[in-house]
Subunit: 146 residues, 2 copies
């Protein structure tokens, strides 16, 4: 978690007002799935479809990347495109970008499809070095704080 | 997260010294799996075997329960016993109780097998009401803070 006013690696800086706005937005977000439950099972998240803000189906959640010590889900990794695993790419999405839409039975990420497709990603044969710098870049791309 | 000295629902109370000891223990814990990586994939955690402190295989991790808003893994749910799903029971384990043992290629939970078997659990047809009180009870059973 960055501190208020902390400068991210790509020079994104959040003002106090922006931080308040983001916190308010976070509090107002609809809960995913069954709204009466505070927790969700990993096996419900995995396989769920992901849509861009303009409603296009982009991919589905393949797996989650979890901090070993913190127990925090740092990314929900979306698999995107490809056929039988060929050409498939993986987009790590910050957990907070996922808003569950009951009508779509999927997550909606609040950026348009081209920006979502061009987001930080890797292929089947690569694995990102999930370090702090990588996290700050990915999170900044989606406009959330690492 | 409870505060230092906070009284848990079953009257477990941690002194300042005990909290320091637990923090020190936490810092000294070996990282799970590939020690060079800070994150672990949910699909590596799921299916991993779980052993008691005395080395007996008790079950394996079935799924994770994640806070929808916090993104925190509150429990790694171990499935235990049963045959083809009949009589199977589920034990929610606090994330911090899982220590990966490279020799066993599994997690070791630091309590003996009888205490692990008798831990809070539920059957296939039930679902716990994963609220704060439940969490405090389960965490206190394993001696960790909710």
């Amino acid at each position: 978690m960055t501190q208020p006013g902390h400068t991210l690696s790509n020079d994104l800086k959040f003002s106090g007002e922006e931080l308040d706005r983001r916190r308010e937005y976070d509090r107002s977000r609809p809960l995913e799935r069954d709204e009466s439950r505070l927790l969700i099972s990993s096996d419900k998240v995995e396989g769920t479809q992901v849509y861009s803000a303009d409603g296009e189906k982009i991919g589905s959640i393949d797996h989650l990347m979890i901090g070993k010590r913190s127990g925090r889900v740092e990314y929900a990794v979306m698999s995107f495109g490809g056929f039988l695993g060929m050409g498939e790419s993986y987009h790590p999405l910050p957990w907070d970008t996922l808003d569950y839409d009951t009508d779509k039975d999927g997550y909606v990420v609040d950026i348009d499809k081209n920006r979502l497709k061009e987001a930080p990603s890797y292929t089947r044969d690569e694995t990102p070095d999930y370090n702090r710098g990588y996290g700050e870049n990915v999170y900044a791309y989606y406009g959330v704080m690492y």
